[in-house]
């Protein structure tokens, strides 16, 4: 895909937990350098287990994982200082202040220079907008503030790769926007971002590439634009005369016509040779009171449904 070597590369990566349950099943994942990579999947699809294997926290049952070109978990001490991570939500020492939490995490990194520690912690706090609350005990933080502090701990050093597991969890819409623009900013600086989420529109807004997991398997991976292109858009007509509109669309040979609710008729987009404006005029001529006539672009969600034939629900 990319011309530079992959930042994350797994082959046949599998994890079977002691209960016999196969959490991750033969994963072949390639994350190109410089991408913002969305890692999608319903809750329980194996995303977090994959991330834990990538970070050397759990040992794969079989298969290999390479992070920044080095095998994990063997090269953990050489590779992980160049990787910032937020895994399954932030974890903090409630009895320490936000700043002291970061000082502690930074002290755990043997490659972190203690002489620049205070300055780097200050910069990380500033970056996530927590400077004002830095002296407060982490116990008193709201979920959103904890999430920001967790992000700050991933930003203590210049990183080549950021692995962010559900980074906007618990944030209000304003906070979500801030974090997303922070992610874009980091990506522009050249950091590869591996972003796990179950929110499709989040992935769509910030990611250049995406992979979809379901029940421990990789369903698809590629560029977001490509993935979305696989799904066709839909035509939506808003009108009180749903019956008449649906009949006319069917007569014109348009597939998958469905009445949705009181005043919506949707269908597949007509073939390219059919001019949408003509279709609209025809509806009006037939006495259909057209209030809205839109060709909706395919979203990643449509792509997902098209690819998996499934909804996006919690795996059983």
């Amino acid at each position: 895909m990319g011309n530079s070597p992959a930042v994350i590369e797994t082959s046949g990566l599998s994890k079977r937990f002691r209960g016999g349950q196969l959490a991750v099943n033969g994963l072949d994942l390639t994350v190109p350098r410089g991408s913002v990579f969305g890692f999608l999947g319903p809750n329980g699809s194996g995303k977090t287990t994959t991330i834990r294997m990538l970070m050397g926290l759990i040992e794969p049952t079989s298969g290999t994982a390479r992070l920044l070109g080095s095998p994990m978990p063997k090269a953990a001490r050489a590779v992980l200082p160049r990787v910032g991570a937020l895994i399954e939500g932030p974890a903090l020492y409630g009895f320490l202040s936000g700043r002291d939490n970061l000082l502690r995490y930074d002290a755990a990194d043997p490659t972190a220079d203690p002489r620049t520690r205070t300055a780097r912690v200050g910069a990380a706090l500033d970056r996530v907008g927590l400077t004002a609350a830095a002296g407060k005990k982490a116990r008193a933080y709201s979920l959103g503030m904890k999430q920001r502090l967790g992000l700050a701990s991933a930003l203590l050093q210049q990183r080549e790769l950021l692995v962010l597991d559900e980074p906007t969890n618990g944030l209000d819409p304003q906070g979500m926007r801030e974090i997303r623009s922070l992610i874009r900013e980091l990506a522009e600086d050249g950091t590869t971002v591996f972003l796990s989420s179950h929110l499709l529109d989040e992935i769509e807004q910030v990611c250049s590439h995406a992979a979809v997991m379901n029940q421990g398997r990789l369903v698809v991976q590629g560029e977001v634009a490509e993935l979305a292109a696989n799904a066709r858009g839909r035509l939506v007509v808003t009108t009180p005369d749903t019956g008449a509109a649906a009949r006319l669309l069917k007569e014109r040979g348009i597939a998958d016509v469905a009445v949705a609710g009181e005043d919506r008729v949707s269908s597949e987009l007509p073939p390219d040779e059919m001019e949408l404006a003509d279709l609209n005029a025809e509806l009006v001529r037939a006495g259909v009171r057209v209030r809205g006539f839109t060709a909706e672009r395919a979203s990643l969600e449509d792509a997902f449904v098209a690819l998996t034939g499934e909804g996006f629900d919690v795996a059983g």
């Binding site: 410089g34 000082l103 995490y105 755990a108 043997p110």
Partner: protein
Amino acid sequence: MSRAEVVEAPRRDPEPGPARRPGVLWSLGLFRSELVTVLRRWRTLALLVVLAAVPILIGIAVKVDTGGRGGGGGGGEGGPAFLTQITNNGLFLVFAALAATLPVFLPMAVGVVAGDAVAGEAGSGTLRYLLVAPAGRTRLLLAKYVSVLAFCAIATLVVAVSALAVGALLFPLGEVTTISGTQISFADGLLRAVAIAGVVAVSLSGMAALGLFISTLTNSGIAAMATTIGLLITVQILGQIPQLHAIGPYLFPHYWLSFADVLRQPVYWDQLVKNFELQALYVAVFGSAAWARFTTKDITA
């Protein structure tokens, strides 16, 4: 809805930055951070306060008890060691307080700190962030063990210093009569008190390793603490059963009270050395077990 652009524009490669090599001194940062984190918990402070209160209680009890009678008797065998000499010399409160806290209070405090060391961090999730920092599993375990040992020393010192202060306040100080019956100067006695505190702290190292091992087995700090302290109590009971005297010498508290031998003239080393050997054995066995467990464990919390 805006779609993410597939940015193919040339990107600045992240700056490689100065080669970051771990320095030896930098590694001490983790140990210092460990110890500071342990000491900043209210729980730890509460434990230390309780430990400091023991000599105060003993001192007041002895003062009240002997207040009417004046200088107490010489060598009463009943009650804890050294208790009877306190009225003659406040320094003996140090020995009495250590003898009183060593069987239960001190190891209990160590059990709390050691049991919580890994399991508590696993339970709160902070362990995974330390490991991806990356602290390194062996390095982190070592830092944890050293900080537990430091806590052993601090806890012992708290008892000793509190006892010395109370002893000096309530009772006269002066020349020390050793267990052998000879007299040594107060300065020499003070030196021996320091030595005894050292011996007591070392006596706790086996228990600390055991606690740390148990701590690697679970993700619940409370469970690890309870198991460690439960084990301590069990071992103390087993040591009291005459029918089990065969296993006695292998139980970690067996030689604990040998620290009194420092007060002989000359110092009687036999039991002290056996104590050190036994503690070293426990540290080796449970230290390796903890290492084997922790370096291969899946961190799922």
